[in-house]
Amino acid sequence: MVSSSSSFASAPEFIISNNEVDNEIDILSKIQSNNSKLPNWGRRVRLALQTAKEIDTLHSSTPPVIHRDIKSANVLIDRNFNARLAEVQCEQPNNSLYTFTGNLILQNQTLPVSPNQLLLRGCSLRNTEYIVGVVIFTGHETKVMMNAMNVPSKRSTLERKLDKLILTLFATLFVMCFIGAVGSAVFVNKKYFYLHLESSEEGGAQFDPRNRFLVFLLTMFTLITLYSTIIPISLYVSIEMIKFIQSTQFINKDLHMYHLETNTPALARTSNLNEELGQVEYIFSDKTGTLTRNLMEFFKCSIGGEVYGTGVTEIERGIAERSGKKIEENISSNAVREKGFNFDDPRLMRGAWRNEPNPDNCKEFFRCLAICHTVLPEGDESPEKIKYQAASPDEAALVIAAKNFGFFFYRFKQLHCFLLRTPTMIYVRESHVEKMGKIQDVPYEILNVLEFNSTRKRQSVVCRYPDGRLVLYCKGADTVIYERLADGNNDIKKVTREHLEQFGSSGLRTLCLAYKELHPDVYESWNEKFIQAKSSLRDRERKLDEVAELIEHDLILIGSTAIEDKLQEGVPACIETLKRAGIKIWVLTGDKIETAINIGYACNLINNEMKQFIISSETDAIREVEERGDQIEIARFMKEEVKKELKSCLEEAQSYFSSLSGPKLALVIDGKCLMYALDPSLRVMLLNLSLNCHAVVCCRVSPLQKAQVNLFLKAIKDWWCLDFNYGALQVTSLVKKGAQKITLSIGDGANDVSMIQAAHVGVGISGLEGMQAVMASDFAIAQFRYLADLLLVHGRWSYLRICKVVTYFFYKNLTFTLTQFWFTFQAGFSGQRFYDDWFQSLYNVIFTALPVIIVGLFDKDVSASLSKKYPELYMEGIRNVFFKWRVVAIWAFFSLYQSLIFYYFVSSSSLSGKNSAGKTFGLWDVSTMAFTCVVVTVNLRLLMICNSITRWHYISVGGSILAWFIFIFLYSGISTPYDRQENMYFVIYVLMSTLYFYLTLLLVPVAALFCDFIYQGVQRWFFPYDYQIIQEMHRHDDTDTSRAHLLEIGNNLTPAEARSHAISQLPREISKHTGFAFDSPGYESFFAAQLGVFAPTKAWDVARRASMKSRPKIGHK
C-alpha cells in the first residue's frame, strides 16, 4: 500500500477501513501464521514481483519515499493473493479536527474518505480486534498537534502590577545610587590624609580624587550591590511557594468544592492565578452544561397539534412563583422515570396512543425518533439493560423516549462504511403497532444519512421499510423545518408553532420532526448525485448540503419534541451571590431570545428590578431587508439598525447611571446583532453600554444546541461556529483590552475553549462534554455553584494574602535598605556596609522569610461562611483596594519613618560611654544593635497586619527573632580561623553586657511601630474597611462550627430549596404587569397573549413579532 504520508512516527493519524475489509484484503503476515492457507510457489513469486513493483513505485516517486525494510506485515493482499496497491489522495495537513477530505484509490475504484474514517492521534481502539489502516499524518502534522493551541501563559494582573512596583524600586535604587555616587565624587579629597586617597596602588582608583568621574562610576557600582536588597528577589520565590500551596492544598482539597455524585474535586491547573480570582469583575458563562446540567430529559411533545406531557419545568414554576400563583403538581405513581426520560402522559404510554385521534401520526413520530439519529446501542439487547452511546445527550434522550413509547431500537448493524454499497441496518422492536400487545422486530435499512451540522440545523435519514417503502425522516430546528414543509395542513403547522413557542418560553429545547415518502425512481436519481457529492474532493461539505437540499423539501410535519435541560443545583443562589459581589455576568447561549430571557430569570440573572435593553435582529424591518436577499444590503442595514439601537440604549443607560439610585441594567443581544456591534466603529458604544450592565445575555451566539447532536468527530466546520468562537473570543478580549477589568470565562465544552483561553481566568466545568474545556482552563470545578467558593472564598483570600505579602516584602526591604542609605551619608559616601555581609544576605532568607509565608497561607479576614454571607466584601478585590499605589505609598512612608528611627535612634547615642566602665561602641556594635532592632520590629510589624493569628504565626515570628539571636551568638562567639575580618567577634556579648542595649531594644521597636499603630487605629476607627466591620459584627462567633454548619447546608440544599431561597431573596411584590411579569416591553404582551390575557400590541413590540410573525392571536389554553 502506498500512501502519501512520508514517515512513520509513534503517534500518527490513521485512516481506517472497517472490519469488513478483511473479507477482501488481508495482511501477508497473518496468512503466514496460518499454515493451512499458505500460497503455492507460483503465487509466492507473483507476490514477490508485485511487492518489488510497489517498492519501485515508492522509489520512483518524487521526492522518493523514505522507507524501512518491507516486512510481511506491510504487504496487503487480497483473496486471490495479489498484493494491493492503493493510492491515497488527501488534503494538506491542517488543524481542523472535524473535517477531512481524501480519496482512497484501490483497483481503479475511488472511495471517498471522510472524517468518519479518520482516526485521530491519541484515539484508542475499543471492541475491535484489529484494523487495517494507512498513516496519513505524523508527528507535528497530525491534526491534534496542529490543533494544540499555544496555551497563552497567563499572569495575574496583580503580578503585572507587581512588576511595575519592582520597576519603581529599581528606579529608586538608581536614584539612591546616583545620590551616593555624586556624594562620593564630591567627598573624595586629598585632605583626608589618613585615607591615603591619592595613592596609586592597585584598586586605589575608586577613591582617587584626581579622577572624580571614575570615582562616581565605581562608587555607583559599589552602591548598586550595596543597595540591591531593596529589590525583593525572594519575593517571587515566596509568592510562588505560597500560590503553589494555596492551589494544591487549599483549592484542590476544599471539601466544599468536591462533588460527590461525579467524584470530582476542584482542580487548580495553574497556580499563577489564585489572586486573580479575587478580582474578577466579569464572568462569561456558557449556558448548556454550565448553568444547566446538560442532562437532557424528554419532557414534552406535540404530535399532530396536540401537546402531550404533564410536567412543569423549573422555569415555569419559577415564573409562576414570581407572579404569585401556585402550581399544583400531581405526579402519578406509575410514571416511567429513567435517565433521559421525564415524561408522563397516560394518553401515550403503554400503547394508549392507538386511541388518540390520529394514531398514524403518533406512529410516524415514534418511528422518526427511533430511526432518525446517529446513536449506537451497547450492551444487552433488552430495554432495561441497553445503553445508548450518543454524542449528545439530546439524541440519547430522544431514542430513550422512543423506547419508552414502545419503539425499542435495539440493534445497529453497519455493514460497510467504506464502500457505500451495503447499507446500514437499524432494528427496532415495535410494540402495539398492528394491534395492542403485539410485538414485532422490524429491520429498517438506512440508505443515506444526511448529517447534522449547524448550517443545516437538521438531520435526515432515508430508510427502506421491510416492505420496500422508501421514507425520509427529518428532524431539526423549527425554522429550517418549516421552510421545507409541504403546503397544506396549515392548522397543524400553526398549532405546532404555538406549542414550540410555549416550550421555548418554558426553557425547553425543541426539535421539529417531519417525514416524506419517496418514490424509488426519484430516490435513485438523487442517490447518484449524492454519491458523486460524497466522493468529491473539493467542497464536499457544500456539495453534500446542496444535494441534501434537493430531497429535503415538501416534508410533512409530524410534531415536535421538547427536552428539558435542568438548571444545575444551586445556580440561582450562586448567581445571586455573585451579583451581590458586584460581579457582572454575561451568559452566552444558543437559545432563542425568549428562552434565553427565561433562563435568565430562572437563574436569577435578570429580575424585574432591572431595566432591560433588548437588541434583536428579528425585527420586521430587518426581516424585510433579509427577504430581499441582498447580502451587502442586509449587512449595511443591520449595522445601521444596531447602531441606532445601541445609541438609544446607551443614552437611556447613561441617564440611569447618572442618578445613583437607578435600577440595575441588563442587556439582551442576539448573535447577529452582536456581530455587527463588534464592528470597530460600534465597539466603543457596545463596551460603554455593556460595562454599565450588570447582566448581559447574548443569545443565539453558539451553533444551535442541536449541533451537538453530532458525534464530536463529525462536522462542525462552518462559518457560524467559527464565527461564534471568534465572536466569543472578541467579546472577552473586548472587555479585557478596553476596560482593564478582570474577566473570567466558564464553560464545559470544546466550543468554549477559545473563550476560556482568552479570559484572564478560564474555568472549566468537568462535566459531561469531554475534557477539552478543562484542559484549556486554569481552574476546573464540577459544578457552577462552586464558583462562589472559588471566587468569594479562595479568590478573595488569595488576593488579600498576596497583597499583604507583596506590600510587606516591599516594606521590609525598603526599610532595611534605607537604614543602609542613611549610613552612607555619614560614611563619606564610600559605600561602606553598615551591616555585616552575612546579616545582609540572611535578612531575607532566614530572619524575615518564614512569617510572611505563614501570613500568605493562613491569613483570613473573615471566615469562609461570612465571605459567602457577605458577598459584597468581594468588591474590595474588584476595586483593588489593597494594592493601589496609595497603599504602596503609605507603606513607603512608614518604612521611611521607621528607617530614620532605626538609624538615628541607634547611632545618635554612639558618642558616649556605654557602660559603667566608660567604654564606647564601635561601628559593628552600633550596626548589630540596629540590625537587631530591624529584625525585631519588622517581625512584629507582620503581626500587626494579621487578621487571624494562629499558632504558626507565633512560632514563625518568634522563631525568626530567635533565629537571629542564635545566629549572632554563634557567629560572633566562634572565632573562625581564616578569611574573615573579625569585626563581628564578640559584638553581641559586648552589647548584651550593657544595659543600654536592652533599653534601646525596647525603645526603638516601640517608637518605630508607634506611627503604624496610630495609623491602624485611626483607619479602623474612622475609615473602616468593610471586612473590619464584618469582623466586628461577628467577633463573638464561634467560627469553626459555623463553617461546618454551612457545609451541610451548601451540600444538601435540594434544587427546590435553592430555588425558593433564591426567590425569597427577590422583592416580594406582585409584578406591575399582567400575567407573569417580564419587565421588558416586548415580552409582556407576548407571554400575556399566550395565556390568553389581552395586552395591547405596541409599535416597539419587537420580540413578539419576531416569533409570532403572521400569526393571528389565538387564545390558547
Partner: protein, 344 residues
C-alpha cells in the same frame, strides 16, 4: 479523625468506594480552619495599648534621664587653642617637628567621683570610610607567624619590601596626642590599663606580636609604637582599632582614679601632635564620670519620655473622641454597600 463534621455525606459509602474516591481528606490545614485568635483593634484596645506604653516608658525615661543628669562631664576643645597665634599654616605647623606642647586648664564645676574617664573626641574624621575600615589585617594582629598577611592593608602594607606590623591605614593613623593632668601642681596618675574591651584585647591582638617597621615610611600618619611591648598591651592601639560608627566619635584615653572636687582647677599639659587641621577636624578633651547607663546620654531618656508622653496624650485624645463621637462596633451602616446603595 475529626472528620465527623465534614465527612457526614460520605459515611454511607462502602469501603471499596471510599478507596476509589477522590474526596479530599479532611484536615484543618487544607480546609483552612486552623484555630486562630482574631485580634480586633477596637478603640478600647488602642487606648489601653497607648496607656500601657506610657506607663512603661515614662518611668524608664525618667530613670535614664536622671542617670544621665548625674553624670559630670567636662569637655574642652583645644585644636585651635593649642596653635600659637602667629602660625598661619596650621598644617605645616603640626607636621613640623617643633615641640607642640600646650597647656590648658579645666575647672571642675561639680564633684566628679572616681573613676573619671578621659576621652578624646575627634570630629569630621571618617573612621567608617570603606577604604579605612578594611585596611587592617586581623590575622597579622593575632598571630606572630602571620605577619606577612598584609594584602588587605594597602596602601600601608609594606615598607622597603618588609611587612609592617601592625599594617593598614587604621594603625598608621593612630592618634598621638598625649595628655597629662595636674591639680594644684600635683600630678594625677592616668591609668591606661583596661580601657579597651576585654574581648578585643584577648582575642584580636596577640601577646607575642610586636610592632615592626611601624611608621617607617616617608609620611608619618600618627603615633609610634614601642616595639618591645606586644600588641595586646598597647591599649591605645586596641581602642583606636575598634573603628567608630560615625565621623564624630569619642575614644577612651585613660582614667583618673581619684575624685575631682568641685572648684578644682585641672591643669592639662598636652602634646598637640595629631593632624586634624588638614581636614578641619576638631579635637576635644572630655572628662566624664559614668553611671549604670554609661556616660552622659540625654537622648535615650528624652526619647523614652517623648514616646511615653505622646502615648499618654494619644490615649487621652482617643478617649475623648471615643466619648464624644463614638463608633459603635460592627455597625452595619458603615458597610460601603449600605452607605452607598448601588455599589458604585
Amino acid at each position: 479523625m475529626s472528620s465527623s463534621g465534614a465527612a457526614g455525606a460520605g459515611s454511607t459509602d462502602s469501603t471499596a468506594a471510599r478507596r476509589n474516591t477522590k474526596r479530599p481528606k479532611y484536615s484543618k490545614f487544607t480546609q483552612q480552619e486552623l484555630p486562630a485568635c482574631k485580634p480586633i483593634l477596637t478603640p478600647r484596645a488602642v487606648i489601653s495599648a497607648f496607656l500601657l506604653v506610657s506607663v512603661v516608658f515614662v518611668p524608664v525615661g525618667v530613670a535614664s534621664l536622671l542617670a544621665s543628669r548625674k553624670v559630670c562631664l567636662r569637655d574642652i576643645m583645644y585644636d585651635s587653642k593649642c596653635i600659637p597665634k602667629n602660625v598661619t599654616n596650621k598644617v605645616a605647623y603640626i607636621q613640623s617637628s617643633a615641640d607642640k606642647a600646650c597647656s590648658i586648664t579645666l575647672n571642675v564645676t561639680k564633684h566628679m567621683k572616681s573613676p573619671v574617664y578621659i576621652y578624646y573626641q575627634l570630629d569630621n574624621f571618617y573612621q567608617n570610610h570603606r577604604r579605612y575600615v578594611k585596611s587592617r589585617s586581623d590575622e597579622q594582629l593575632r598571630k606572630r607567624g602571620e605577619e606577612n598577611e598584609t594584602s588587605t592593608c594597602k596602601p600601608e602594607d609594606m615598607v622597603n619590601g618588609r611587612a609592617i606590623v601592625p599594617c593598614g591605614l587604621i594603625a598608621w593613623s593612630l592618634f598621638n596626642d598625649t595628655y597629662s593632668f595636674s591639680v594644684n601642681k600635683r600630678n594625677l596618675t592616668v591609668n591606661k590599663k583596661g580601657i579597651s574591651w576585654k574581648s578585643d584585647r584577648n582575642h584580636k591582638f596577640g601577646k607575642d606580636v610586636f610592632p615592626k617597621n611601624f611608621q617607617n615610611s616617608s609620611i608619618i600618619g600618627g603615633a609610634h609604637l614601642n616595639e618591645s611591648i606586644p600588641l595586646r598591651e598597647q591599649e591605645d592601639l586596641i581602642v583606636w582599632m575598634r573603628t567608630a560608627a560615625l565621623p564624630t566619635f569619642r575614644k577612651l584615653y585613660g582614667k583618673i582614679e581619684e575624685d575631682l572636687k568641685e572648684g578644682e582647677l585641672i591643669n592639662v599639659t598636652l602634646n598637640n601632635n595629631y593632624n586634624t587641621y588638614s581636614f578641619n577636624g576638631k579635637k576635644k578633651l572630655v572628662l566624664s564620670t559614668t553611671t549604670w547607663l554609661g556616660g552622659k546620654n540625654d537622648f535615650l531618656g528624652i526619647a523614652y519620655l517623648t514616646v511615653g508622653g505622646l502615648c499618654f496624650f494619644l490615649a487621652l485624645a482617643f478617649t475623648i473622641v471615643y466619648f464624644v463621637k463614638p463608633r459603635q462596633l460592627g455597625d452595619p451602616s458603615y458597610l460601603s454597600w449600605n452607605r452607598n446603595p448601588g455599589g458604585h
